[in-house]
């Protein structure tokens, strides 16, 4: 009898638990979810925000051949807040939104200039949204950016979103800006936020390149030289002060940012040829050690010393080159060092004087000069950053060229 009572009790408990957990099961089960791969947030004429959600058709992802691109579906909604937008979208599509695979959150430039702290806090508060989601500030509307996010060399949109920011490690022309870092910068009193700068290339781009190859490194999203199919492009970065967009950096400035923060493994620069001022030599550089940053407070103003160290190989080649000669290599090294010093210095002063935004996080290095957190907070680093002076030193040692050493 006791055994039967026990078995009955276990059965009743199982049924109760089945009922109790069924709510969470139906909310989170894979069959009842619709997976969002990207979100776009724009300003709206009708309401406060215009949110667009990008979905991918699951069956076409799994069955599509190598020549087809997976179609994406974008739904937009005007709403007063992000949570309301998600709620309304749940109602319209009939399924619960699954935001845990959202790779990109795009804000339009117009919205970013007014401040996006509320949106970022709300997004970070969501248990599904990942801190590693990329944040993009778009020159066009964010929705238009998503509509034209068609990978050129990738079949799957989700894969493209996962890897596009990784090109920052090898080119330095974009950044891997994530929601977690952006949120951290909003809270932090020693650094400012940044985001990927996104735009759309046009079919007939007004080429800004010309013969002067220096123009390559000054490209930004929406004004690059890419022509052909209309597609999204992510070049440069957006700079924030607090939660408001205050400026943009072009590709070479973005590279300087990554070199300062030690987030680049290799990059290509075009430096003036020491023997011919009208031509340029392309050099492939790799950092030898992390950049050294030393911050001191001199007469109440920050004095920041930054030293970089790179090693490089000559990428471009022309006739009558002799890269076996020590003198030639030394001259190119000096030319490269001087060029990079100028570039990095210009970048640092731009962030300090023009943008007044410490995106490099020098404030963290400055903290060691203060004894207590209160002293540092009283100093108000973010306000004093605009008074900063920089001492930049770059040491480049060119090893050789690649396959050809002498022509």
């Amino acid at each position: 009898m006791k055994v039967w009572i026990r078995r009955l009790f276990i059965l009743i408990v199982m049924i109760i638990f089945l009922v109790a957990f069924s709510g969470s099961y139906s909310a989170l089960s894979i069959d009842n979810l619709s997976t969002v791969v990207a979100i776009a947030i724009d300003t709206s004429d009708i309401n406060k925000l215009r949110m667009s959600f990008q979905f991918t058709n699951a069956s076409s992802v799994s069955e599509s051949g190598s020549t087809e691109q997976s179609p994406s579906i974008i739904y937009s909604i005007d709403c007063s807040s992000i949570s309301n937008g998600v709620n309304l979208m749940n109602t319209y599509i009939g399924k619960e939104l699954n935001l845990s695979h959202c790779k990109v959150i795009a804000f339009s430039e117009e919205l970013a200039m007014n401040g996006i702290s509320e949106e970022v806090y709300t997004l970070f508060n969501n248990a599904q949204i990942r801190p590693s989601t990329n944040v993009v500030i778009t020159k066009c509307t964010a929705k238009y950016y998503l509509e034209n996010s068609k990978p050129l060399a990738e079949n799957l949109l989700t894969k493209y979103y996962e890897i596009f920011a990784n090109s920052s490690k090898s080119t330095g022309y974009t950044v891997n800006a994530t929601l977690g870092e952006f949120f951290s910068s909003l809270i932090c009193d020693s650094c400012e936020g940044y985001a990927i700068l996104g735009g759309i290339s046009s079919e007939d781009s007004e080429s800004t390149t010309g013969i002067d190859s220096q123009k390559d490194s000054s490209s930004k999203a929406n004004s690059s030289s890419l022509s052909g199919k209309i597609t999204s492009e992510n070049i440069g970065m957006a700079v924030f002060k607090g939660d408001k967009l205050v400026g943009e950096l072009n590709s070479i400035e973005t590279l300087s940012f990554l070199a300062t923060r030690n987030e680049i493994s290799s990059f290509l620069v075009s430096v003036p040829d020491p023997n011919d001022s009208s031509s340029y030599i392309d050099i492939y550089l790799t950092p030898i050690i992390d950049s050294r940053i030393d911050v001191n407070i001199v007469n109440g103003s920050p004095y920041i010393e930054v030293s970089y160290s790179f090693t490089g190989r000559i990428y471009s080649m022309k006739a009558n080159s002799n890269y076996l000669d020590d003198d030639v290599l030394d001259k190119i090294s000096d030319s490269c060092s001087n060029y990079l010093e100028t570039v990095f210095s210009n970048y640092l002063y731009k962030t300090s004087k023009d943008l007044e935004s410490d995106i490099n996080g020098f404030g963290k290095n400055a903290k060691s000069k203060f004894l207590t957190t209160q002293d540092f907070e009283n100093y108000d680093w973010l306000e004093h950053y605009s008074d900063s002076f920089f001492d930049v030193s770059v040491d480049v040692s060119i090893r050789s060229s690649y396959l050809l050493t002498e022509t």
Binding site: I30, D31, L33
Partner: protein, 298 residues
């Protein structure tokens, strides 16, 4: 024992085993004389029943059910690799279906995005929830396995292959089950074959249904608490006075009890839980031609 007859060692095993809420086997049954003699030399008790080909070895702990007699015949590196495979196979048999259900029901963020879309696409036309699907497939697999034992031997393997392949393929084509689930169930089934002891394999096969239910009920919480309770019950089980999970943790400093085998010249002690009269079975330097540095190379 006051019984009319005893026809096999299996019946004797059930009569003398202690009560266990988990129904784990507490006695090793083997047909191999080398296995029985090896355990006898290590200090265990072996019981033979007249007319039955199986010898009963006791006490038997968890490590014994995952060990094969061939482990002693191989170099320790190879033997330990195979032991690792068996332990992993036991883990898969017990937990893989439950984990799959838990992940698809509560924790989809674990899946890579492309895999998630593959699963979604494959499940689009399936009318059943994943719990019913997995239940159907597991029961079908057990049916095929049991039927394969009874079919006359020329046809046995063929029926097994036909049953598994054709039935699985037909079920997928008909949209009754998703292909990913067929893979999960197949891997679970293959892993169960890697468990050396038949009784223990049966126990694991039955217990996995509990974990499937727990994974369906409350995801990783159910599986974690189920695993905690399962391990507690297993640790509370004794085999003729010896705790069942002796030697499972590598931090337990008891000689001769570890799951992973040291090289043969380091197996100096019998298992301490046996409290044998002669604990040491090998001298410190068993190979007398060495000068203490290991075998000399000539």
């Amino acid at each position: 024992m006051d019984i009319d007859s005893l026809l096999s060692s299996g019946q004797l095993e059930q009569l003398i085993s202690d009560k266990s809420s988990l129904n784990v086997p507490q006695v090793l049954a083997t047909e191999r004389p080398d296995k029985a003699s090896s355990y006898l030399l290590n200090g265990r008790v072996v019981v033979l029943v007249n007319g039955s080909p199986y010898a009963l070895i006791m006490p038997a702990i968890l490590n014994d059910f995952l060990s094969s007699p061939d482990d002693m015949n191989e170099k320790s590196l190879f033997a330990n690799f195979l032991k690792f495979i068996r332990a992993f196979a036991t883990f898969l048999t017990l937990l893989l279906p439950g984990l799959y259900i838990a992940i698809t029901s509560f924790h989809q963020e674990l899946l890579p995005t492309e895999l998630l879309f593959s699963i979604l696409a494959s499940r689009e036309n399936v009318p059943f929830p994943s719990f019913v699907e997995i239940f159907l497939l597991e029961i079908s697999f057990e049916l095929i396995r049991e039927a394969g034992l009874r079919v006359p031997s020329p046809l046995g393997p063929t029926i097994g292959i036909v049953g598994a392949l054709v039935l699985g393929q037909a079920a997928v084509s008909a949209g009754v089950v998703s292909p990913i689930l067929v893979i999960v169930v197949a891997i679970t089934g293959i892993s169960s074959f890697a468990i050396p002891d038949y009784s223990f394999g049966l126990h694991v096969r039955i217990t996995r249904f509990v974990f499937i239910f727990l994974g369906y009920l409350c995801g990783f919480l159910g599986i974690a608490l189920g695993l905690f309770v399962y391990l507690s019950m297993m640790a509370g089980t004794t085999s003729f006075g010896v705790p069942y999970m002796t030697g499972v943790s590598p931090l337990e400093k008891e000689k001769g009890n570890t799951y992973f085998l040291p090289p043969i010249w380091k197996r100096e002690y019998r298992s301490t839980f046996l409290r044998s009269k002669k604990e040491k079975k090998q001298a410190d330097i068993s190979m007398k031609w060495c000068n203490g540095d290991g075998p000399k190379m000539h």
